[in-house]
Amino acid sequence: MRYKALLISKKDMSTENNKHLENLSEIRSIMERSSSFLSLSGLSGIFAGIAALAGAAFAYWYAYIYNARNIVNKHIRYYELTDSVLIVLVIDAIIVLIIALFAGYYFTHRNAKRKGLKLWDTTAKNTLSSLAIPLITGGIFSLILIVQGSGYLVSATTLIFYGLALLNASKYTLKEVKYLGIFEITLGLVATSLIGYGLFFWAFGFGVLHIVYGILMYVRYEKNEVKG
């Protein structure tokens, strides 16, 4: 009799066990889904990076080749930024930003759909608002620099503030965003001491780093899901 009771309880225990295991994995998944914005797609990084490189290439061509007469001294790369060149460069930057945002939205939306997640949830709101505050601050600060005639610092400033924004948002999204942020900040700080190469730092930070990051994230998180 005692034997039988023991057998039954053993059998019950193994099904109980499966239930507990299931519970634990569900808890883990809920914790992850509710606290991190996981839909962020690597592809948005790649396309944003390509847009940035194209924009930088255009800026280089327009400023240094098309308007080559504005180069005051080739050796120290001092560049006389006239109002008309400035306006074209600002428009160029805005177009890049719009393409990057659109790519970001499009691929992230696609990724969310594939994962069966809601795009616009608390984690998305947290990610966006923690990105927005440093970014807007950096944008306003850059405008002030231009107005006050310190435009040569704009490239470094945008990189630093963008890096801080990423670092801030990484609490709510993929943890790798943090490292991208640290790279951008470092690059921005280096750029402050190499005046005249702003465009190259900018192209590297917003172009190359985004593409590398995007490919890494795509391979790590999305490639298998596309196949499967």
Binding site: M13, S14, E16, N17, H20, L21, N23, L24, E26, I27, R28, I30, M31, R33, S34, S35, K118, D121, T122
Partner: protein, 99 residues
Amino acid sequence: MKSLITNINKVFESRVRLGIMSALSVNEKLDFNSLKELLDLTDGNLASHIKALEKEEFILVEKKFVGKKPKTSYKITKFGLIEFKKHLNALENLIKNQL
């Protein structure tokens, strides 16, 4: 054997309640709709489980008005978090000891 089961909390036997506690343990606070979408529940179902957790003082209800709309958010209490962690540890131990 008894020592292993003592920390398994009866209140957490429902999957919905476990879900609510999981979400609140990693978020400062969540509103009703976020929880509902996250756990894929109906209004009534979520509300009844929230009530049960509130009664145990595992979670805190915060009501405020955003414009004219009432907005209800939920927070985990310190006591709730401790109990939830105890429960998770107990689950883990159970599994470890029986595998």
